[in-house]
């Protein structure tokens, strides 16, 4: 159910002509996904998803859309573009290939489902994640900080007024 909804809202992102509506449907997708995360026992990530994506990132998006006044812009899908057909076709192709070749082997007869489906110990708990972040994943964590720094400096640089 949640899955179907999320798919629908994701389609909305693509097919809404209005950027604001696209964005809102993306928010919906994110929210639905966080629900799914919960079903996967990943509580922390679910909340993070909500906060980071639905909250922060999408706000940014909407902000930019508003600033640029994109909602007023005309529809930006050309209906007759062969690209559209081709892209959809290729999309189906991609999904088909991956689905048949990669996901199908993982369907129920395989061992994965036989396994009693219990979340691993501490799965999704903040402690475990925190532990990992500060031990084994300390280095990437630091690297990410560099990345965020880049993001900050970069966006400032891009948004700065003209050079002296």
């Amino acid at each position: 159910m949640v899955a179907i909804l999320s798919v629908l809202s994701a389609l909305g992102v693509v097919f809404f002509k209005n950027a604001v509506r696209s964005a809102l449907s993306l928010v919906a997708t994110f929210a639905l996904l966080s629900v799914l995360y919960l079903t996967l026992d990943a509580q922390l990530l679910a909340w993070t998803q909500l906060v980071v994506y639905a909250g922060a990132i999408m706000v940014l998006f909407l902000f930019v859309i508003m600033v640029l006044n994109l909602s007023k812009q005309p529809a930006l899908i050309e209906r007759r573009d062969p690209k559209l057909m081709l892209a959809t076709l290729l999309g189906f192709g991609f999904a088909g290939i991956i689905g048949v070749q990669v996901v199908t082997p993982l369907l129920p007869p395989s061992e994965i489902v036989k396994d009693p489906v219990l979340a691993p110990n501490g799965f999704g708990q903040p402690q475990a994640i925190g532990m990992a972040l500060f031990t084994d994943y300390g280095y990437p964590f630091e690297a990410i900080s560099v990345l965020l720094l880049v993001g900050i400096v970069g966006s400032i640089l891009l948004a700065k007024r003209r050079l002296r």
């Binding site: 994701a10 996967l40 990943a42 859309i65 691993p120 999704g124």
Partner: protein, 113 residues
């Protein structure tokens, strides 16, 4: 916890990913394209979490918890990266909007040939 097979999550991830991919190709607004990319990233997150959750037992010689954490780490880092990308990407879109009053990606082809 429930009887939903992992493959279902994977399929959902695949569908979302594909939608994102198709969206990137067919939309003309860079903002929306960017949103579609975010959709792709989320699809990846979902897939990864599904793997982490269902913990492939077949992975020999690896401690289960360790494995699961790895998946969660991927998700976290992807989120962080997405945040940074958003900051920069929107900055670029802002900058280009300031230069010209349109964000139609198809009008951006000064560079070609």
């Amino acid at each position: 916890m429930n009887g939903v097979p992992m493959a279902a999550y994977l399929l959902l991830g695949l569908v979302l990913f594909t939608i994102g991919v198709v969206g990137v190709v067919i939309r003309r607004s860079p903002i929306v394209i960017f949103m579609c990319i975010e959709l792709m990233l989320n699809a990846v997150n979902l897939t990864t979490l599904a793997f982490a959750r269902y913990l492939p037992q077949f992975v020999a010689g690896r401690e289960r918890g360790h494995t699961a954490v790895a998946g969660e780490m991927i998700v976290i880092f992807i989120m962080a990266v997405a945040a940074a990308e958003v900051a920069v990407g929107l900055g670029i879109i802002m900058a280009i909007f300031r230069l010209r009053d349109s964000t139609d990606i198809d009008q951006m082809n000064v560079l070609r040939g």
